[in-house]
Amino acid sequence: MNQNPLREHTRVMGFGSYRPDIIVTNEDVCQWIDSSDEWIRQRTGIVTRHRAAEDVSVIDMAEGAARDALAAAGIDGSQLDAVILSTVTHPYPTPSGASLLAERLGATPAPAFDISAACAGYCYGVAQADSLVRSGTSEYVLVVGAEKLSDIIDNSERTISFLLGDGAGAVVIGPSDSPGIGPSIWGSDGSKWDAISMTGSSLQLRDHAPEGKAAGRIATANVEDDVAAESLWPTLRQDGQTVFRWAVWEMAKVAQQALDAAGVKPEELSAFVPHQANMRIIDELAKKLKIPDSVVIARDIADAGNTSAASIPLATHRLLQENPELSGGLSLQIGFGAGLVFGAQVIALP
């Protein structure tokens, strides 16, 4: 029996982005919740977030980012050996978004699958792509983080909805002559399963929606049931304090482990790209990790909000566009979110 010959090294070959057109300002948000531009900026660092129009799907955004990344990597969709889509907002439990994405990109019959790891989804995807390429199973793997979070929020609640934006970011990962992706430090903590979660499962919509409204996004009238009408369509909530504390305290340790595993010191980094959850988390992580001033820190959250699985590739791509000299340097990336789940690795920037 044969087994695949192993490859020694892998690298990220190119980044791609898709940012939807609609800009939601803090003034817009303040029409829905009692807040102010100043309050939102001070606590989150967010100034605007992008949201996709009703007729733009998660797969449309994923395709845009993927085509961009393929062009940057200099390969054709037909050369892909695997397509990984990280998302929590593809609105079908099955079939996967990835198989449709692969078809659109001309990658059929490449294996294609979705992964559900929320804001860590992109780093989970990179961990898998790295392993697939090094094991010899695949040569070129596409990893896309794409989210249309605007479909699963309730603008009138104030724990998380105002933070979130839509978008997609992508990378192509392939073989390399030198080390390009450090060891992945990834994991989960299901003891905090409900720290970031939905208001209910989709079954409640089936079981409790009034006649004729089951297909509606929010059923509003005459629900003679114990389920509040507005909660029929499941939307996101978070326990902000628990999440903030976990993100700052535990994630600083995970990021440090990723540095140690790669044998890289903070001062050897060119960029630090944490998940864009909250500017205060970004600042606190940078402080705890003692990231020196010479390292560029991604702060895409100010314009893009929190785009879950898309945030790290979107932010990294922007850094590369605005600072082309970062190319060839090392970037520490760490994703963390609902699950709770986390993933981190050091990569060489393409």
Partner: protein, 82 residues
């Protein structure tokens, strides 16, 4: 084991680092939110740093009970003894 004065001084240092407030302003009877104008996110950062500095655990549900600097000093002092 730190004395109450040392805990207060250590807290003042953490608060200063997070907010820029002068350490002398961090007095025992001062309320974190009303007097020192510390928001919920800064409060969590202060709690995380205090846990690290004093080697104690302050559960999420306890944080809301720490209204004044004195409350925090007492809690940390008791937690160190326990």
């Amino acid at each position: 084991m730190a004395s109450n004065e040392e805990i207060q001084a250590g807290l003042a240092e953490i608060v200063n680092e997070e907010t820029g407030l002068a350490p002398e302003a961090v007095e025992l009877d001062k309320s974190f939110t009303d007097d020192l104008d510390i928001d919920s996110i800064s409060m969590m950062t202060i709690v995380v740093n205090a846990e690290e500095k004093f080697g104690v655990r302050i559960p999420d549900e306890e944080v809301k009970n720490l209204k004044t600097v004195g409350d925090a000093v007492t809690y940390i002092s008791n937690a160190q003894e326990g």
